[in-house]
Amino acid sequence: MKVLLAGNEAIARGAWEGGVRVASGYPGTPSTEILEALAQYEGVTAEWAPNEKVALDVALGAAYAGARAMAVMKHVGLNVAADSFFAASMTGIEAGLVIVSADDPGMHSSQNEQDNRRYCKFARVPCLEPSDSQEAKDLVPVALALSEAFDTPVLLRPTTRIAHSSTLVELGERQPPREVPEYRIDAAKYVMVPANARRRHPVIEERIARVAAWAETFPYNRTEWRDRSLGIVTCGVAYQYAREVFPEASILRLGMTYPIPKGLVRRFAEGVRRLLVLEELDPFLEEEIRLLGIPVTGKEVFPACGELDPAVVREAAIRAGLLPESERLPSVEVPSPPLPGRPPILCPGCPHRAVFHVLRKLKVVVAGDIGCYTLAYLPPQAALHTCSCMGASIGVAHGIAQAGSPQRRVAVIGDSTFLHTGLPGLMNLAYNQARVPVIILDNCTTAMTGHQDHPGTGRTLQGKETVRIDLAAVARSLGIEHVECVDSYDLGAVEQAVRAALSADGPAVVIARRECALLPAVRRTWQPLAVDSERCNGCGLCLQLGCPALVRTGSVVEATGRPRVRIDPLLCTGCEVCSQVCARGAIPRRPAH
């Protein structure tokens, strides 16, 4: 009996079937659900780590100790974990280690679309790519066995389309996990001082050459002979597009994209009249094949930017003359006025909105970070001015200050992001005494990826109560003397705290705390507000908050000629931030106050 599984659920199932004992990761779209699903299985220790580097170190330690292990992250997470990734390649392991790095072609939820197959070549680590959920599941035990056979970490590279698509999967049983033996001490292999590392480098070069030879008969590298006039080398979800758009073409589908099986590729190339590579993002396979001296077409036909789909592939092939014009689907012109967009925005009741209202009012430069609050860059608030990568806000604001920029500046960073990579930045701020207020937007969860726990929430991934990091105490212990905590919903208190931090002599921290309005416990307390239409004069001050629950009505105030505002009761949570903004008291607070 086959079941529909999303790629991420399938990877978790594969880890369980493959006897993984320890898994660690940090949430990041499109990888988050893997660890959430794995945490539900018996016999697996699955943990959120504060960041991807720590996650990979934990998985690596487990693999050193003889337990099969997995580290899970999104593609940019591997940048954070890169040091450990290269180290893992150098040392090898005692038991299988799989690193799942989920790439995001199309940047559905990312700041770039880097192609992490490059990392595999860089670090001499084999790369496996599934093309549906069945393979996503099956390739995990395969990767673990490969890891052990060659004493190497293995990278599994799903993409958003694999991670978030559901396809039918035949389930298997769990392999009994190997017993964890007494710890085997081998300093020459596991202590990477120069003397040992110099001996290891030739070992990993020779290892990747052996993997390449083995890849010639790897069953997931599969040649499908059909019409020989066109041969397509492909991998991952692009295989599905190749089958759909070129049903007659011969296909070499690579389940292992690094290292490539040179003999298999040569034989395939010799067997077809024209060789094409269809792959998302970088011309990775294309370059590897060119290095063999084989003429091949790839990115001159298909785009290197963005996600592919059958229509994109078909159109590119028609334009390149690979398919006749008659293959073009009839296109329909849809006559419509310009349509208003529906961009992601801060939710109704979002505690961040109040803080950004204050920052906008104070006209400060805001160095931002990665999380829901990044969305405050959008109008009407437009109160966040930089966002590069996880944890960058504090260092960037520090640099703006040290550059002597005349404007006042602050850093804003969420609680989960602060614990991820914000800590060293704050330490640096205290150490070098840069005059930067840091506002920690503490909504008590990792909200953007769907409410994951972290060391500040007091709960683990597998639901155990645990210690809860006190952010104020952490800031003080790092050397910050000016530390203040406020309720994010209290506009007056937030403004006072930010003003005080701005006039402090040295670095300062303001912790603006309020639980995310979408947390289940908070949802139960929602109580919508209403506008007193007698008092509303249509000034529109409240609309500057950019809250979706505040709606302009068709009813116009006679005196001002402006439309009144109403509150959509289906959206309003009752946070009362708009009540505090309204100068006419037209949005009464609830009686409890």
């Binding site: 559905h108 009839p330 329909v332 939710c347 609309l543």
Partner: protein, 215 residues
Amino acid sequence: MSGYDFLLVGVGGQGTLLASDVLAATGVRAGLDVKQSEVHGMAQRGGSVTSHVRWAHRVFSPLIGRGEAGYMVAFEKLEAVRFAGYLRPGAVIVVNDHAIPPISVSAGSDRYPSDVEVRRALAAVSANVHFVRALPIAESLGEVRANNMVLLGALSRFVDVDLDCWLAAIAGRVPARTLDVNRAAFLAGRQALSDAEHADRSPHCLGRISDGTAR
């Protein structure tokens, strides 16, 4: 059977993804190969949500390309127009007769398309357009959130699969305590379209759009 390519579009929080799960499970119950793919960006709530569901004897791509979808279930009118370019000419279009104005509209800087504009846009793609007042129907059953099952029920009129497959898929996907209302909503949606077509013999059912635009 050459296969079914369904595009579900709506706004985060409308139950689009549960409907897509049920639709995918129905295809599995009918003994077909099925692929389902969600496309959602950074929004927790309030952003555009689309889901692609494909049924066939063998499905390759999990994504439907522009111009390829044969069926659309739109949970919101603006989203129906936004994604109309994904449909092939003559596609079946089931539209919830419901508007959720984006923030730029409620703030007064953008305009929501009028019903006439919505109708004109969809009519350019297909004559097979069916508006369903899913919210009032679900509300009358006591559970406004079951509006997603009302829309699936309406869609089911155009899909050659036994009713049992749909009902079993619903039973397998919705929480047990909401099963009765979800099943009732599905059947009401199936019936609503049938009633509409008896009442109005015009092939488009367009006479049944409510007046007024945004809520």
